[in-house]
């Protein structure tokens, strides 16, 4: 029995529950697939618990600071590469498209403007694609939220340096041991997901930024996003 099985026995039904199939090899691959899925579920459940245990106070402090920034007219800029670029867009959408009538909070993903991204990459370097738009549009009191699973993305680190220079609130999400993001002194609120799996890190990062969003909206007494359908298993 692995550590995860001991922690989450309900995730591991008896090994003889396999799909009806004549091919033993095929059956083995399906069994492996089922095991793998349950293992990943146990991993992310445990990682979320660990993130809560490690970062609860910092999440409260960060959401309070973000609410303060939005409350005094600040705007949020989000950025990241690859999968994290899509997270940056989800962050911006979470604040700016509130899911109820009325205005949202001003949030912009720096990853969504292909004209700016390609202009800077072509004319200067990929390292400046987030720092330059912040230099152009950022103001003291704004929020810079960057994601990098390794913590080492050069363009994310450059953006934090620029944001700090301008007096923005800086929020960083990283994985592994936090990489260079953890060594930089440019991040006010740093959240490191203690995992070596890029996938689990991204899943925990999604939780962290959505929790930050929910708490920020709660502090500002904004209505949340409407829920729909069942909330319990079955």
């Amino acid at each position: 029995m692995t550590g995860f099985e001991a922690l989450y026995p309900f995730l591991y039904p008896p090994a003889d529950e396999v799909p009806g199939d004549d091919d033993a090899g095929e059956r083995e691959v399906f069994a492996e697939a089922r095991r793998s899925t349950r293992e990943k579920v146990a991993e992310i459940a445990a990682l979320r618990e660990q993130v809560l245990a490690t970062h609860a106070e910092e999440l409260v402090a960060c959401a309070q600071a973000m609410a303060g920034a939005f409350g005094t007219g600040g705007r949020l800029f989000s950025f990241g590469n690859g999968g994290s670029s899509t997270d940056a867009q989800a962050v911006a959408e979470m604040f700016s498209a509130p899911g109820h009538p009325g205005a949202g909070l001003p949030a912009i993903a720096l990853t969504a403007d292909v004209a700016v991204l390609t202009a800077l990459s072509n004319d200067v370097s990929f390292e400046v694609v987030f720092a330059r738009p912040l230099a152009a549009s950022g103001r003291a009191g704004d929020i810079a939220l960057g994601l990098s699973t390794s913590g080492n993305s050069a363009n994310v680190l450059r953006a934090f340096a620029e944001a700090r220079r301008q007096g923005m609130l800086t929020v960083g999400l990283a994985g592994y041991d936090g990489g260079r993001m953890a060594e930089a002194d440019t991040v006010d609120h740093l959240f490191v997901m203690p995992s070596s799996s890029v996938h689990r890190i991204q899943e925990a990062q999604t939780t962290v930024y959505q929790v930050l969003g929910e708490l920020t909206l709660r502090a500002l007494s904004c209505p949340g996003r409407p829920a729909r359908g069942p909330d319990s298993p079955g």
């Binding site: 989450y8 309900f10 995730l11 799909p19 090899g25 095929e26 691959v29 399906f30 492996e32 697939a33 089922r34 793998s36 899925t37 349950r38 990943k40 579920v41 146990a42 992310i44 459940a45 979320r48 809560l52 106070e57 409260v60 959401a63 309070q64 609410a67 690859g82 999968g83 670029s85 867009q89 989800a90 959408e93 979470m94 498209a97 899911g99 890029v198 996938h199 991204q202 899943e203 999604t206 939780t207 959505q210 929790v211 969003g213 929910e214 708490l215 709660r218 502090a219 500002l220 007494s221 996003r225 409407p226 829920a227 729909r228 359908g229 069942p230 909330d231 319990s232 298993p233 079955g234």
Partner: protein
């Protein structure tokens, strides 16, 4: 007036995640079946086509990049494209044929019968996602939906008679759109991983 947050606030929002997260283990068989079918399509030269609205549009783009540029070294790139990344196309279709046609119109133009259509909708109430999945099924594509809540009009495709127009329905057991999104991220990471597991067994992905 800004409210003072406490540790109890953060504990409450985390607690809201636990049931839906662990309930995902019950989807293991359905996820395995979907991955097996996806591997068969890739084996035949099919491509992955993803779509969704709002936060799920970001997920659609994320799912596509997982396949095109795997984060795990040594895994082969597989053909994948999301239908959410080109605002010129999206707004052009929305203006001429309505928002409900934004993804279906792109499928009519680009899809081939061997392809895979994955639609993502946190509450299942996205008409353009449902229409695209139906269109995809009618064109011979494998259809996969990631939903939450009661599954809405998207999940209803699986109940159509005489023929269901949805091959694989994967549902997060929550009505909270934030929680559903987090479960979906885990689901599509597993979809990527297991599609490779099935694909790497020669002769198995048939």
């Amino acid at each position: 007036m800004i409210r003072e947050l406490t540790r109890a606030d953060v504990e409450e929002v985390f607690l809201r995640r636990t049931t839906a997260t662990t309930a995902l283990a019950d989807e293991a068989d359905r996820i395995g079946d979907a991955c097996h079918a996806m591997a068969a399509r890739f084996y035949r030269g099919g491509r992955l086509i993803t779509f969704g609205n709002g936060a799920a549009a970001a997920d659609a783009a994320h799912l596509a990049v997982e396949f095109v540029h795997p984060v795990i070294m040594g895994k082969r790139a597989l053909p994948a494209v999301s239908l959410v990344t080109d605002p010129a196309t999206l707004t052009g279709i929305a203006r001429r044929s309505g928002f409900e046609d934004t993804f279906a119109a792109q499928l009519r133009t680009h899809a081939r019968p061997d392809d895979i259509a994955v639609g993502i909708s946190a509450d299942g109430a996205c008409v353009n996602v449902a229409r695209a999945l139906g269109e995809a099924h009618d064109r011979g594509l494998l259809t996969v939906a990631l939903v939450g809540g009661d599954g809405g009009t998207v999940a209803a495709l699986a109940d159509e008679r005489p023929t269901a127009r949805l091959d694989h329905l994967l549902r997060a057991r929550s009505g909270d759109p934030y929680v559903v999104k987090e479960v979906h991220v885990t689901i599509y990471h597993v979809l990527w991983e297991l599609a490779h597991v099935f694909l790497e067994r020669p002769g198995r992905a048939s």
